[in-house]
């Protein structure tokens, strides 16, 4: 550990906000309509990764899986201060649910000799939160989810996290390598330095790996995904009305009428 930890931060390109549609034939998300952005909880993961590097040295490598254009989110991470970026891209990955997705990321994290892997709490397009624990499980590594704060203890080869648990918190020490899912909004992500941002957008080229580079070509994609989308129904819109009330009691009464 002379040169600090190998820190890998997983990021994902997602459609911006609600600006998405559903493919009527496949029931899958049509990503082409919406602007593609970095999943907002991932900013907290990047910030945590950079803070860890500041505390104990080492390197931060941003890692993503997606189509070739997903390299844009690596640029965001590099602009914020990540040293390098790796893009996992291959048609074979298409249609992967969280099982093969976390497998590919797990193999890449192994390849990068990661000591700490960070990710956001969940993605705004799928909202499962299953990928960070999945990476940890695939590699047989420790996991820490819903993390509020991290404290590096390189002398013990451990990472200590304060985790949010319902009704309170806990502090957990994990042996390396460890996968961390940062809680959304738990830190204040830095803004990109201008020169770094220009470098990220003009000179930086991510390393690209495909499924066979990771040795997972037979274990990814829709065929390797335990879950399938069996249908998609549009939810009935909730009828909404608006009126002004003068007191809390009056409002409570109105709420009581519709509860």
């Amino acid at each position: 550990m002379d040169n600090g930890w190998n820190i890998v931060v997983c990021v994902k390109q997602v459609p911006d906000a609600d600006d998405v549609s559903i493919d009527p034939d496949t029931g899958r998300l049509n990503r082409s309509d919406a602007e593609a952005v970095l999943n907002s909880p991932d900013y907290n993961a990047i910030e945590a990764a950079l803070s860890l590097r500041e505390a104990g040295g080492g390197t931060v490598t941003a890692l993503t899986m997606g189509p070739p254009t997903a390299g844009e989110v690596l640029q965001v991470a590099v602009g914020m201060g990540a040293d390098d970026g790796v893009l996992l891209t291959d048609r074979a990955f298409g249609g992967s649910d969280t099982w093969p997705t976390s497998l590919a990321l797990a193999r890449a994290a192994e390849e990068l000799d990661a000591d700490v892997v960070l990710g956001g709490e969940e993605t705004t397009d799928s909202s499962t939160g299953q990928v960070p624990p999945g990476i940890a499980a695939h590699n047989g590594w420790a996991q820490l989810t819903y993390v509020e704060e991290l404290e590096a203890r390189p002398e013990e080869d451990r990472l200590v996290a304060r985790r949010d648990v319902e009704g309170g918190y806990e502090r957990v020490a994990a042996e390396l390598p460890v996968v961390v899912a940062m809680g959304f909004g738990e830190n204040t992500p830095r803004t990109a330095d201008l020169h770094r941002k220009i470098y990220a957008e003009t000179e930086f080229e991510p390393t690209e790996w495909d499924a066979s580079d990771l040795g997972v070509e037979d274990e990814v994609g829709m065929a390797a995904s335990p879950t399938q989308v069996g249908g998609m129904a549009t939810a009935d819109p909730v009828p909404r009305e608006q009126s002004m009330v003068d007191s809390a009691d009056e409002l409570a009464e109105k709420i009581g009428e519709v509860r």
Partner: protein, 297 residues
């Protein structure tokens, strides 16, 4: 610990029964577990299978009986100090073993932080299908269908898991009702072999502090404020009083109210830092709705 294997040739016919993970901390069962036992009972009846409750912890005494009263035919108990407090690695390894030995068809897990941490880990080694934040679970079209909100609640996706077992679902608290327990129900309590040793674990809980603040997942009524409150939570407290509810707010709003209102700062500030978080406003899961924190007075 055991890393995953990718065995895809699964004989789905060999898998039976509906399991419910009964999340407990220090003998206190998460209320969502009772809700899942009620839902699991319906599913098991429809499938003609047994409902099995899974309890892990240390010195578990009355919980198995309550599981039976709440619908379980069998309760699998893994009682060992290694399971208290919860940690994903020993829980995950024990669950992997139990699934391999007993082959459940369906597993229901509460969508708490602990439940989601657990589910994400245990789905991998068994190559199980896992669907997060289900709001409807039913037997339909001769299969188990899991429905969850998608795209911020504008759509409801049906997720199926045809070729893998178990079919796992997480469910948030409050989605399904819990039936009243029936103390006359009969069932079987089985102490299972514990396959994890402390030396094999990769994590250590240094400190755990819970219970100092209301868990808003247990509240029937939550009055929540955001930055629009501009530090003034008085109207929220008034409304909460009128509705017999609990006040919560986004973190920034609670912070602002705490510093701007010193007379009530002790009541509004987060006790011992961050407090419980949940998504009390909508069952539609989304990161953007995260970050609620309970305000106290």
């Amino acid at each position: 610990m055991m890393a995953a294997t990718g065995d895809t040739d699964i004989d789905v016919e060999a898998y039976d029964d509906v399991w419910v993970f009964v999340e407990q901390h220090d003998g206190e069962v998460a209320s969502v577990a009772w809700e899942l036992l009620t839902k699991g009972r319906d599913l098991a009846d429809e499938r003609g299978e047994d409902l099995v409750a899974l309890v892990m912890g240390e010195d578990i005494d009355s919980i198995p009986e309550e599981c039976i009263a709440r619908g379980a035919d069998r309760v699998l108990v893994a009682d060992d100090p290694v399971f208290e407090p919860y940690r994903s690695d020993p829980y995950g390894e024990q669950f992997r073993y139990l699934v391999e030995e007993r082959k459940p068809a369906i597993a229901l897990i509460g969508g708490t932080h602990t439940g989601r941490d657990f589910a994400g880990r245990v789905a991998v080694p068994n190559h199980a299908g896992l669907t997060a934040d289900c709001t409807e679970l039913e037997m339909a079209n001769d299969r188990y269908e899991m429905r969850r909100p998608a795209f911020g609640g504008d759509a409801l996706a049906t997720i199926i898991c045809p070729d893998h077992r178990p079919q796992m679902s997480t469910v948030r608290a409050g989605v399904f009702p819990a039936a009243e327990p029936d103390p006359d129900r009969e069932g079987e309590v089985i102490d299972v072999e514990v396959v994890v040793e402390e030396d094999d674990t990769m994590t250590e809980v240094l400190e755990r502090d819970v219970g100092d603040v209301a868990d808003i997942t247990d509240a029937d009524v939550v009055v929540a404020g955001g930055m629009g409150t501009e530090g003034d939570f008085d109207p929220l407290w008034e409304l909460a009083d009128a509705l017999d509810g609990t006040v919560a707010g986004t973190r920034d709003a609670v912070d602002e109210a705490g510093s701007n209102r010193p007379d009530r700062s002790a009541k509004l500030a987060r006790p011992s830092g961050r407090s419980c978080t949940s998504r009390p406003v909508s069952p539609a899961p989304s990161s953007t709705s995260r970050g609620w924190t309970t305000a106290r007075r």
